[in-house]
Symmetry: C2
Subunit: 323 residues, 2 copies
């Protein structure tokens, strides 16, 4: 059984964790958005990769979902003393990741190699694959002008009105090594409940990815990031409105409709099932909100089991007895 | 009144602080050894510059003399969790200095420009000048083979037996901007009680420095780092023995004899006065051990007053009423 997940930050990391609990770490690979990556003090910061890595390592801050549990802010306070007003908060422990990654990258390692080393050292047996070793940078075109992603997201707290998105460099960037092959050979592919436009689309926009997904033999399941017309976290619903799309699970399903076989809809949106089924895909209605580790595992298990129902020959997969 | 001090780390920083207290920050410039500088995680670490900067800013750790008072080790602990065993301990707050310096250097600033900005932001009005903007690296030839300075000093705790010292790059490095002019125009030049071989010699070895010192009109005073045949801190006495030189204030005076006019000898070594006077220089015998801020100020004041006695026309200088 090998499961391939596509993920952005917190929401994606939670389901990746649930899938890991459901099928075992060795069976899971996670392709992670890197279009949010940026440089701070010359260090390469890869927020989504780190969120997935910390989550799978069991050390993520349980409140915020990002950063390291129990991290401190001495370094940040000293930067403030220096008169710097950093809009991106890096904890003292989190900074160790960025320092080691910088050292590896400066030494000639690729981002995917550095990620592999760092995640192994944190005891993560799942395979975390940054979507590309080449730079891709989301530029958010807003009513305040074009903004680099982190300025839009963190500095301006996603309040500017979005007119469009540009994934700079995506045309030239190579998908990370093994990524296309992993899509071709996966038993199940899961699009996590991440922001379709900010987290998943940059992955899909990489050369060859969409084509390989169209031809993939595995069931491809997307899990809704929109519940009751709202995003569970972050700007997905607001962004959809601004891009002229109704913020609804139906529109998320439509967004992925050409390549997914199944869609996981929240029980609060059960009435949308017929609209999504009409697009020619299977629909699982369940509780998609992951508050606890048990929620994650349960949803992970349900997604794997749902995928199994969408293929001719059952593979099984979920290790959890609750299912 | 303008005072120019040559300094390495902790001992030099303490006297620089005393001079600052004695004459006022605006009257003081400190030329600092950078041959101890090295790179860690791609960041430029400049230990002596930072020690002088933190000391003059009043934020140095009063116990160790280096690092920032009250600093924490979360980042270090996380590096250890990553399986790294860093032999150079960087505190969470200290790291802010290295991050900002890296950012400035990456942005094209020189080390002296970055130092100026950082020290100003910490409220330091004295002028701290790294000896060169170009790389110079002390290589310590030991019985365990040649060691980069920080490996000798920190990793091996200066226990290997030293056979010789090489200041790599010193022939090509330019003295920092304004350095030679500052030597020519200083009213008083003070060689702080730093390690003559590891901290002061790299400065003296820079092109033109020794010649300008030989021709300087200002009194040049050296303060002994050796008291009772021992270094107050660090490897100076051990190193002198290993280099075949008696670890004695007399030998320190001899080391600088061709360009200094006065030598400050500790009261515990008062009997050495005639030997040093015989080299043709003035000698001040006093308590050179700086335990408290008052000790620093008193010694700073005594050094300035001593220098004044060595020039034809008195300039005064010490602002402290105790003198």
């Amino acid at each position: 059984m090998n499961i391939l997940a596509f993920a952005g930050g917190v929401g994606g990391a939670k389901l990746a964790d649930g899938l890991m609990r459901a099928v075992g770490a060795e069976q899971l690979a996670v392709i992670v958005n890197t279009a949010d990556d940026f440089h701070l003090y010359g260090l390469h910061i890869s927020p989504d990769v780190d969120t997935v890595m910390y989550t799978l390592a069991g050390i993520a801050n349980p409140e915020s979902g990002w950063g390291i549990d129990g991290d401190t802010w001495q370094n940040f306070d000293m930067l403030v003393r220096y008169g710097v007003e950093p809009w991106f908060h890096v904890g003292d422990r989190d900074l160790a990741t960025h320092l080691l990654r910088a050292q590896m990258l400066n030494g000639g390692a690729t981002l995917s190699e550095a990620t592999r080393k760092l995640s192994r050292r944190l005891g993560v047996d799942a395979f975390i694959l940054p979507m590309s070793d080449d730079p891709v940078a989301t530029l958010v075109d807003t009513d305040q002008g074009p903004l680099p992603f982190q300025e839009y997201f963190v500095k301006h707290r996603w309040q500017p009105v979005v007119r469009g998105l540009i994934y700079e460099g995506v045309g030239e960037a190579e998908p990370a090594p093994s990524m296309l092959r992993r899509i071709e050979t996966a038993d199940t592919i899961v699009i996590c409940p991440s922001n379709p436009y900010l987290s998943i689309d940059p992955i899909l926009a990489l050369r060859g990815v969409h084509d390989v997904l169209l031809n993939a033999t595995a069931p491809i399941i997307a899990v809704t990031p929109i519940v009751g017309g709202e995003a569970l976290k972050g700007p997905a619903a607001k962004l959809m409105k601004e891009l002229g799309v109704e913020p609804s699970a139906v529109e998320v399903a439509r967004h992925y409709a050409d390549f997914i076989n199944g869609f996981v809809l929240d029980q609060r949106d059960a009435e949308l099932r017929p609209q999504i089924e009409a697009m020619g895909m299977g629909v699982l209605v369940t509780d998609t909100v992951m508050r606890t580790a048990d929620d994650r595992a349960r949803l992970g298990c349900e997604v794997v089991t749902f995928a199994d129902q969408l293929r001719p020959e059952k593979l099984g997969g979920c290790l959890l007895s609750s299912e």
